[in-house]
């Protein structure tokens, strides 16, 4: 097994607010190998976006990375100076956002933005950057690349903007792409197209992707590994087959039961009792215990061990992934 592209160990990120300390991440372990497509699944407050921001070191006061290590291709990201980290962002690891308008400046044409950013991140002259831009626009199946290059962001539809975002990100030639809900705001037919394109390009370029989403359908179609997050921890990690066929953690199981499957006729709507805890005051012991149908007395006091994030494992005192 080749060296992992991304390795996160014991990551703890907290925010010091006027109301108290919000423990957004409480000890996260995760490994992303070369060419792997890892899905980070969770609901609001689970910590999935904070994980992405921590990797890119975009956490600003009052937040801070309190503990742990993040290694990218063997390089310790947390030990870098902010200038060095700036180089890393864009060259080695890049991010695609839910709202493509975040990464596209409305006052510049697509051409000037792509050329400038690709040229800067890959250290190549403008002409070469434009070639690269055009190549990747072709790769993402953009109907009229030259016309798109001449356009301004507001002239493009949501799906096209997201494709430009992807092309631009790929143009940086990173080792790892972090995509934070990149297709959530898109129509379902557009989402399908974007996902297909993304899949093709990733496999061609042998890139690693960390795909953050709350949509389990997208995860099943796109990812090969899955990390399920709840209350600032990864509660289960495994291959996509492990997670869907042999879900171990009660939260994973419950979550799978609440989501409707379009290929199945209507069933009784299943619900997870209770609500997601606020990270200002997470429950004692296992964070899921107040809502867990299988909770035992010890779950209230003992915190289960964190998963290693590299093989099928659940962070649970009652259930074990080797059961099945």
């Amino acid at each position: 097994m080749s060296d992992p592209v991304l390795e996160i160990r014991d990551l703890e990120t907290a925010f010091d607010t006027s109301a108290g300390t919000v423990e957004a991440l409480r000890g996260v372990n995760l490994t992303v190998g070369a060419g792997e497509r890892v899905g980070l699944v969770g609901e609001s407050g689970s910590g999935k976006s904070v994980t992405a921001q921590s990797i890119l070191r975009l956490i600003d006061s009052p937040g801070e990375i309190a503990n742990g290590s993040i290694t990218l291709n063997g390089r310790d990201l947390l030990g870098l100076s902010s200038r060095e980290m700036q180089q890393v962002r864009g060259r080695d690891v890049t991010m695609i956002f839910q709202d493509p308008s975040t990464s596209l400046d409305p006052v510049y044409s697509v051409r000037s933005q792509m050329v400038e950013t690709i040229g800067h991140n890959r250290d190549v002259p403008d002409s070469e950057a434009e070639e690269i831009a055009r190549n990747y626009l072709d790769l993402v199946d953009m109907p009229n690349p030259d016309r798109v290059l001449d356009s301004y962001p507001h002239e493009l539809s949501g799906g096209m903007k997201q494709r430009v975002s992807i092309a631009m990100t790929l143009g940086f030639d990173p080792d790892l792409i972090i995509a934070d809900e990149p297709t959530t705001a898109l129509d379902v037919t557009v989402q399908k197209k974007v996902m297909e394109i993304f899949k093709d390009v990733i496999s061609e370029e042998d890139l690693s992707v960390l795909w953050i989403t709350h949509n389990l359908g997208v995860v099943a179609e796109f990812c090969d590994k899955v990390a399920v997050m709840y209350a600032g921890e990864i509660v289960e990690y495994g291959s996509v087959y492990d997670i869907f066929d042999r879900p171990t953690h009660p939260y994973t199981r419950e979550l799978l039961r609440t989501i409707p499957n379009i290929n199945r006729p209507a069933e009784e709507l299943r619900v997870i009792e209770g609500s997601v805890p606020h990270m200002l005051d997470p429950p004692s012991g296992c964070a899921f215990h107040p809502r867990c149908p299988d909770a035992e007395p010890e779950c209230r006091t003992m915190r289960p061990e964190q998963v290693d994030g590299d093989h099928h494992e659940a962070s649970c005192l009652v259930h074990d992934a080797t059961e099945q």
Binding site: V188, Q191, E221, P265, R270
Partner: protein, 361 residues
């Protein structure tokens, strides 16, 4: 099955609660210094709809199909450009302003974004009480009692009365919006993407609540959504919209087990399936993008992107044809039959089947 009157319902013994015929809502495009009209956005361009009492009628479609505009027109927030909307047999445009105001107590709405649908400066109690204070002569004490009872109906305690919207979670805010919508004991509730802005596990909770409220209050729902899996789970009937028209309408199982229109098939196959074993080989991927509502293609609006389009498709706008309980605007239904995955064949054993635990709710 033939249609005896112009009803779109398969069995039509009683008059539909809501009957929409030929509804159009156009917006002029004005450009230049003199604001001259250069074109028209045909947001809703001829919609027919039948909603029976007790139905949960879902309207699905993607951006630009006009579903939100349709909802606003049904609610009376927008005046239609042409066409009729009949509620309980009465044509809405024939009503006086006074009568239209009274109609607010019969047709209500729940919006997509729970946070922005509640006035941040009002308490929950004030928000729910507002329609009651406006439309009834009840005393403050009586209104408060009703508010507390409504809060209970949506699963919130009386202590929520004095709280502010920002103190509540998205799911709770949506409950407040629902409580407000049912406060006047309406007949019909329009739901505009009621769960899209909510977390996955909260979505199912909210839908469950909507189901319970519907039974308890004897309501009818018209629900606009883009989430087809929710539709299959929750709705009784479905209308699929594309570029301002309803292109297929059917009872829910008929739509999913045997969709007729190529666009419907593409839409269904585009929904990601939460099952890694699912083979997406037969899925339909549509070329191109949705055209501008101000410049729709000739004939069948879908023909430029349709995998089985023929020449005739660009010439005439197709009328509704009945295929069993389904009504579809398409002349190429037979050719479309072979498109896409067949629903039954790809239904594999999902985890929920193999991991049912003994306790049920």
């Amino acid at each position: 099955m033939s249609r005896n009157d112009d009803s779109l319902a398969s069995e039509a013994p009683a008059q539909p609660l809501l009957k929409v015929r030929g509804l159009q809502k156009h917006y002029p495009i004005k450009e230049g210094i003199l604001r001259r009209q250069t074109g028209t956005v045909r947001a809703v361009d001829g919609v027919d709809l039948d909603v029976r009492s007790g139905d949960i009628h879902a309207i699905v479609g993607e951006s630009g199909c006009g579903k939100s505009t349709l909802l606003e027109t049904l609610l009376g927030l927008e005046d239609p450009t042409s066409g009729t909307v009949a509620f309980e047999g009465t044509d809405l445009s024939s009503l006086s302003a006074q009568q239209q105001r009274q109609l607010k107590s019969e047709i209500q709405i729940v919006f997509q974004n729970p946070e922005s649908s509640l006035d941040p400066r009002d308490t929950i109690g004030q928000i729910i009480a507002e329609p009651l204070a406006l439309h009834t002569d009840a005393t403050n004490r009586q209104i408060d009692a009703r508010v507390v009872s409504l809060l209970d109906d949506v699963g919130l305690g009386p202590d929520y009365y004095g709280r502010y919207p920002h103190e509540l979670s998205g799911g709770q805010q949506q409950r407040v919006a629902i409580a407000r919508a049912i406060s006047l004991n309406p007949t019909l509730i329009l739901l505009d993407e009621p769960t899209s802005a909510l977390d996955v596990s909260v979505q199912s909770k909210t839908l469950k609540l909507l189901g319970e409220i519907k039974d308890e209050y004897d309501l009818t729902y018209v629900m606009v959504t883009h989430d087809l899996s929710v539709v299959r789970q929750f709705a009784t009937d479905v209308s699929v919209m594309y570029l301002g028209n309803v292109i297929e309408t059917a009872p829910v199982e008929a739509l999913f087990e045997s969709p007729k229109h190529p666009y419907t098939k593409a839409l269904i196959s585009a929904v990601p399936v939460p099952d890694p074993h699912y083979d997406s080989q037969n899925d339909i991927t549509l070329p191109g993008t949705v055209p501008e509502p101000s410049d729709p293609p000739s004939g069948c609006r879908f023909h430029p992107r349709c995998p089985v389009a023929a020449e005739e498709c660009s010439e005439a706008f197709p009328e509704f044809e009945a295929h069993g309980d389904t009504h579809v605007r398409c002349i190429r239904v037979a050719e479309a039959e072979s498109l896409g995955p067949v629903a039954q064949d790809n239904r594999s054993e999902s985890p929920s089947a193999t991991h049912t635990t003994p306790e049920d709710d």
